[in-house]
């Protein structure tokens, strides 16, 4: 075991982690630990754009953007945070431009902007051009630009280091962060990083679903590490299902495809969205479109022998338009389905896309130990965190924004905290939990296999807590997850070595997914209403009287070692917008 000492440690090198690193490296001695090479992070998959009311192409302002964000989130958004997001969006985009990001340009040479679902002029009057973009690879350009600037600033990376434990120490009844424990993929060595402040920027958790737009590596490691140490997770029942994933594969086809005029059709060739959203049709909000697709499928109008998909039809659009506006996603259709989008419709189904919930923070990125108390020295930003700017449903283009605004804020706040505070003493045997976990898996002779359990988990999640949920399906999931967690104790791996042991890490990642799936299902069971991405067929309406509040889930361990989840609730911060019915 090695021990390192840094002022500030950042966990993750996606957009949020690198944006934080650029700030904190200037102000404090910083190390970035990342399980992937920075440029492999899933921020690079983002296609459509990043929202900011620059008003470069038409009238716009940050107040309209704030309103759209709150309404899009079905009023579960903390309004003070949404206001910061929308206000700071403008500098966030300009900063990226100055760092070198090659945005699309207007004829006058300004940053160009385009339309995206849910972003409107004057509180819903008409769509507004607010998304700044770079082709259909905006996320790729953000990730590259941030990495380039990390190289410029001399940011210190520990690549292929997996953070597996968060060290939390109690001093006079106050929980404090002492550092993290990481596993080095190349050598199998365990490293303790003592740090005055730690920032989690480890991304989402989509891999507990089978059909997902998320990378294999998005396994919620950061959420799980904090949760296991008694810190809460907020609003985990809210997950976004994007309407257009490639059938069975889940690879995303951007909303921009429908923005360009693409149409969804059932097996009879009908444009079914006309039934469900007469005005916005195919461009209604993501949760509405996903539910409509599944309604078609359930009522027998899905396509294929299994009737398990519908079509995204782009065949009426001129090939030149597809080449110019949607080059990457049309190439996905050719590569993975062998079909030509000029002439053939693309089979799609909703795909698990984005975690609205996560580690609760305030607007400085400080992690909360309960509804009000911060954990000194602990920060989170990006998809791992829940500020909450996305509430019950995130608007397209608001996440690339979130990672930049709150990545920057937490980078500054953490470095300033490091400058003013001392190290917290490490607990005795700081690496104990990780060492035990690794040893147990290496030595296990159990009969359960990681891949089989993971597949059972994913199939259970897809079937029971995806677009439609009921008391019964969620209970089925809760029971199944409990069974899988028990069987997980009997998991064994084949690779017993130290060198690049991805077999071992997949087993550890599965443990994280199981913990988080349990929190998600338990939180969903208790929320007896429908709001944004959480749709309960048995409670189809939003219930502001009883559920206008954030869920806070805590792991409790009884004296005899049995674990359970305790649910608590946190009020929503409302400043100027009173809840209204959400119509598009």
């Amino acid at each position: 075991m090695q021990i390192h000492k840094y002022d500030t440690v950042i966990v993750g090198a996606g957009g949020a982690g690198m944006r934080a690193a650029i700030e904190s490296t200037k102000r404090s001695r910083t190390a970035v630990l990342t399980k992937l090479y920075p440029t492999r992070s899933h921020t690079g998959a983002a296609q459509g754009g990043m929202a900011a009311a620059l008003a470069n192409v038409e009238e716009d302002n940050w107040e309209w953007h704030t309103f759209d964000t709150i309404k899009g989130g079905d009023y579960l958004v903390d309004q003070d945070a949404a206001e910061i997001l929308a206000k700071e969006a403008i500098d966030a985009v300009l900063d990226l431009e100055k760092m070198g990001l090659p945005f699309g340009r207007t004829p006058e040479g300004k940053i160009d902007q385009r339309r995206f679902g849910g972003h409107s002029r004057n509180h819903g009057e008409a769509p507004v051009r607010r998304a700044c973009y770079s082709g259909d690879r905006t996320g790729h350009m953000i990730l590259q630009t941030l990495y380039q600037n990390c190289v410029k600033e001399g940011v210190e990376f520990f690549n292929e280091f997996y953070v597996l434990d968060q060290l939390v120490v109690e001093e006079n009844g106050v929980k404090k962060s002492a550092g993290v424990v990481a596993y080095e993929l190349a050598t199998g060595e365990i490293h303790v990083f003592q740090a005055k402040s730690v920032i989690y920027a480890s991304g989402g958790t989509g891999k507990f679903f089978k059909v997902t737009s998320n990378a294999h590596t998005l396994t919620g490691d950061g959420q799980a590490a904090c949760y296991r140490r008694g810190l809460p997770l907020e609003d985990m029942e809210f997950f976004q299902f994007h309407p257009t994933g490639i059938w069975r594969m889940g690879i995303l086809l951007t909303e921009g495809a429908r923005g360009e005029g693409g149409i969804l059709r059932n097996k009879d060739g009908e444009r079914f969205m006309e039934k469900y959203a007469p005005v916005m049709k195919d461009l209604a909000s993501r949760d509405v479109v996903s539910r409509s697709i599944y309604t078609e499928i359930r009522e027998g109008r899905g396509c294929g022998p299994e009737g398990d998909h519908v079509y995204l039809d782009l065949t009426h659009l001129p090939p030149e338009q597809l080449d110019a506006k949607l080059p990457d996603i049309t190439e996905f259709a050719r590569t993975y389905l062998g079909i030509e989008p000029y002439t053939d419709p693309i089979p799609i189904q909703p795909t698990a896309h984005y975690a609205m919930g996560g580690i609760p923070t305030n607007v400085e990125g400080e992690v909360l130990a309960d509804n009000t108390t911060v954990v000194p020295g602990l920060y989170a930003a990006g998809e791992v965190a829940c500020v909450s700017v996305h509430g019950a449903n995130r608007l397209g283009t608001n996440s690339l924004l979130d990672i930049n605004v709150f990545g920057r804020r937490s980078g500054i706040a953490a470095a300033e905290y490091s400058a003013k505070n001392d190290f917290v003493e490490l607990p005795e045997n700081p690496a104990q939990l990780v060492e035990e976990q690794v040893e147990r898996l290496r030595n296990s002779t159990g009969t359960e296999r990681v891949a089989a359990l993971r597949l059972e988990l994913q199939e259970c999640m897809d079937a029971n807590v995806m677009v439609f949920r009921t008391e019964q399906t969620i209970k089925t999931a809760v029971d199944k997850i409990a069974e899988l967690r028990a069987r997980y104790l009997d998991v064994s791996i084949q690779d017993k070595g130290k060198r690049f042991n991805t077999d071992l890490l997949e087993a550890i990642e599965l443990g994280n997914l199981l913990d988080l799936a349990e929190v998600m299902a338990t939180s969903a069971l208790a929320r007896k209403e429908s709001r944004g991405g959480h749709y309960r067929e048995d409670y189809p309406n939003r219930d502001d009287v009883n559920f206008m509040r954030h869920t806070m889930a805590y792991r409790e361990v009884a004296d005899d070692g049995t674990e359970s989840i305790r649910l608590d609730y946190k009020p929503v911060v409302t400043t100027r917008y009173q809840p209204m019915e959400r119509k598009y």
């Binding site: 992937l36 090479y37 440029t39 492999r40 992070s41 899933h42 690079g44 998959a45 985009v93 300009l94 100055k98 760092m99 070198g100 090659p102 945005f103 699309g104 340009r105 207007t106 004829p107 006058e108 040479g109 300004k110 770079s134 082709g135 690879r137 790729h140 350009m141 380039q148 410029k152 990378a215 590596t217 690879i251 059932n266 097996k267 009879d268 060739g269 009908e270 444009r271 079914f272 006309e274 039934k275 396509c303 294929g304 022998p305 299994e306 998909h309 039809d313 065949t315 590569t335 993975y336 062998g338 053939d344 891949a451 084949q494 690779d495 070595g497 060198r499 690049f500 991805t502 077999d503």
Partner: protein, 256 residues
Amino acid sequence: MATPTLEKSDKAPEAGFADTPYITATFRIRRFNPEVSDEVEWQDFEISIDPKERVLDALHKIKWEMDGTLTFRRSCAHGICGSDAMRINGKNRLACKTLIKDINPEKPITVEAIKGLTVLKDLVVDMDPFFQAYRDVMPFLVTKGNEPTRERLQSPEDRERFDDTTKCILCAACTSSCPVFWNDGQYFGPAAIVNAHRFIFDSRDEAGEQRLEILNDRDGVWRCRTTFNCTDACPRGIEVTKAIQEVKRALITRRF
């Protein structure tokens, strides 16, 4: 809810999409794990799989169902993160962007690590020299003077000038297909030059001269022998050789 007059199209193929029958394919994989042995070994795995699946799916099937020690990098699974460049049937490709049916599964499919970088285990190579060459070309925007309050202006034409080389995902498929790089690991390699190109031809940048000097070095662009392997290998369709030629021309004319 249903309206009788839904807009209709007859383009939707009735049959829809379905599974294709599975085939049996043999994957012949170059194994190496110095923790166990210094010897390299080719190992055959016979699997039953839908030929429309990716080589990455096949590798997962092998790892998950047959041999957990098989080691490779991957993340996004759809060609945008650059993790899984490898030599498949002797050509550099991304495993996640190569469908089994497209590489003749009748014969054993060979899979090995990319060449020119040290193999650490199975399909995993040491990427550090590759990223070092990238860092050496100053891969970041350099500007002088005060920053403007708003964005720097750039015309759509100036923006288009370097669009192709902004697509790079740093997968190393190009560099590790280059015979010059195989023979001499000191050569910067195509990927680093592509990323220098991205800034040299960006109208906002003011360090083109410096980057050109770096590439004028004996290990720089002049080593390129225009074999086009890199262009063939690039999974992003970047015209790599053309970018290198443009840098060479800029070195001669000092115009960019």
